[in-house]
């Protein structure tokens, strides 16, 4: 199993949440102090470079107009990391290509990073969370269709080497595509796409891309992974390899139980901070009408992140893995077996006010004491044994949408 250290690069120094309507989209940037922000950027970059030195892979992402993730241009961070790191694979998860109307520019940026890093890029494409529609001024309707057309154009731009080609599709119109540079990795960098439902996994499986699931927990993971696996089997006639699936959870490893809990409570900021106003949660066309209707009625949609999470509850749900190295290994192993297995663990290892020191301690403990056992676990993967295991573990009962929200799609 490959493990990817991830922080959203938050700016957590905010006024009382009661004083603003929403942390996303319309929180005035007067609350952002550039001096503090500069320190934060360097601290986060230091965390990522530490991950490189420790032995973990690196993941970053992108959001807009939000204090939860002050990286509105992830390729810029990626470019720095391409130069400042030596070893780690660099995963951007991802480029919000349903909202960014410049697929060729994305292909160019990613090719540059791939060359700069001498082939360490892993390139993610995402539709984006609902509250990205307003900052992008892009209608959420047909976002999935735009994502796949942009994807096709990018893939062609990466793999076509004989001079300009023509691409005049439903959404994107380019007549002279001939990017320089071309990617370092041939035929192209590995591609990841986030999935949040069984249906969304099928298309990703067809392309043999990695399907990444965020915080679906016990409640949702089987359905989503099974959707991918079924799609893969159907399209390719073989079982999906483990390394085609990824799971992202909040993870904190501590020297002892109380230190671990303390750190994990801090990472929960990722959930507690996500106060989103109703108008950003339900942009027209993001959700199908029946889901949008439920949100209108008052169910929390889109984020699926509870604002008052309890650590034990979130651990029970499989959204948080926290404790001593032994405990964290047990938790991940249990979830891994329940899910049917996956080859990538996306470790949201820092959020909110979790300090640089605590983050590094957690990374180091994970690397030294959890990681080797996870590698053994995946190396010993046997599809038949896994099938037997899965059958012996009953489905966790679905939780009502009212208190959990909807499938978490980045």
């Amino acid at each position: 199993m490959k493990t990817w250290f991830f922080t959203e690069d938050a700016y957590p120094y905010l006024p009382d949440a009661d004083s603003y309507e929403s942390i996303r989209v319309n929180l005035p940037n007067k609350h952002y102090d550039p001096d503090v922000g500069a320190d934060l950027y360097h601290r986060y970059l230091d965390m990522w470079t530490a991950a490189d030195e420790i032995g973990l892979e690196i993941m970053l992402n992108e959001h807009h107009q939000t204090a939860t993730c002050v990286v509105p241009a992830a390729p810029l961070m990626l470019a720095i990391l391409a130069r400042e790191t030596k070893r780690a694979r660099l995963l951007i998860l991802g480029n919000p290509i349903a909202n960014r109307n410049t697929p060729v520019r994305v292909a160019e940026e990613m090719a540059m990073v791939d060359v700069l890093s001498r082939g360490r890029l892993e390139c993610g494409f995402v539709r984006g969370v609902p509250y990205e529609s307003a900052p992008a001024n892009v209608i959420a309707f047909r976002g999935t269709e735009r994502l796949w057309e942009a994807h096709d154009l990018i893939m062609k731009a990466w793999t076509h080497h004989e001079g300009p080609f023509n691409f005049e599709g439903r959404f994107y119109h380019m007549r002279q595509v001939n990017i320089w540079p071309r990617p370092y990795q041939q035929p192209h960098p590995p591609v990841w796409v986030t999935i949040g439902s069984a249906g969304s996994g099928v298309q990703v499986a067809k392309h043999k891309h990695v399907g990444a699931v965020f915080l679906a927990g016990y409640n949702g993971i089987r359905t989503i992974f099974d959707g991918y696996r079924g799609g893969y089997r159907e399209a390719h006639g073989t079982e999906a390899p483990l390394d085609r699936l990824a799971y992202c959870a909040l993870i904190h490893v501590g020297e002892n139980e109380s230190r671990a809990r303390e750190g994990a409570e801090k990472i929960l900021w990722y959930m507690t901070s996500n106060k989103v106003a109703a108008q950003w949660n339900n942009p027209p066309g993001y959700h199908p009408p029946h889901v949008a209707a439920m949100i209108m009625k008052g169910a929390r949609g889109g984020a699926g992140v509870p604002l008052n999470p309890q650590l034990d509850d979130q651990m029970a749900r499989g959204n948080v893995f926290a404790g001593t190295p032994d405990k964290v290994f047990e938790q991940i192993k249990a979830f891994w077996e329940y899910s049917g297995g996956f080859g990538h663990l996306l470790m949201m290892g820092q959020a909110g006010f979790l300090s640089y020191g605590d983050t590094l301690t957690s990374m180091q403990l994970f690397n030294d004491e959890v990681y080797p056992r996870l590698r053994e676990l995946t190396e010993s993967y046997d599809p038949d044994r896994m099938a037997h295991l899965r059958n012996s573990l009953p489905d966790v009962e679905a939780t009502s949408l009212g208190d959990l929200g909807f499938a978490f799609v980045r």
Binding site: A134, I139, F141, P283, H290
Partner: protein
Amino acid sequence: MSEGKMERITLQGIDLPYVRRGSGRTLLMLHGGGGPVAPMPFAAKLMERFDVVAPIHPGFAGTRIPDRFDNIHDLKFLYLDFIDALEIEDAVLMGFSMGGWTAAEIAVMTTARFSSLVLVDSVGIKPGDRDTRDVADVFATHPAELLKLTWHDTSKAPNVAEMDEDALAAMAGNRIALALYTFDPYMHNPKLPGLLHRIDIPTLLIWGESDGLVTPEYGAAFRDMIPGARMVVIPEAGHAPQAEQPEAFLSEFLAFAS
């Protein structure tokens, strides 16, 4: 409110439902983002004196959005085919909100089948400069605030809490369709002001005095772009004067169109 009996016609491969009821001069009514207006009490009154034709824009009231549809112009061309197919003559063309925009787009193409035009709290233009938000951003406004901008008396608004699942889903579907037709450029066609001089039939603009989505000042700017157009403002009405003040609305409409 039930739609009543619907007629259907296939145009451009699209199954287009519409209401046709009443007799007299034909009145083509194009609804706004809130969905069909034919089931409302004011429409029943109109059916006593007009041959009311009221299509449902694709995407509204649970209908499908055609794959190739992107904006208001797709709707405009659908209705140009529609009025030809129904052989509408000498008709009154009335549009509400985004339906008013559609009506204006049709009228700048041709007025041959129409004798008069009525725009009700209509969008479609951008009178202000680039820094001015001429039309409230309905997709970026909190639902409670949106209610206040839309209605003079919010107690007359449909109550979401009392709607059943189907009605709610239809409402959510309407919102998606509205966005498809109006999202970008937002609620207007930058080219429209340069074309409105082509409207050569009597035109009336009816506006709710308390419309906070599209203000009466916006209406006045719209009126000034259409040769000879008149405007009447209805007190104690918001974005939907036909719903909030049906009697005043009808009296203004009938004084103009009869």
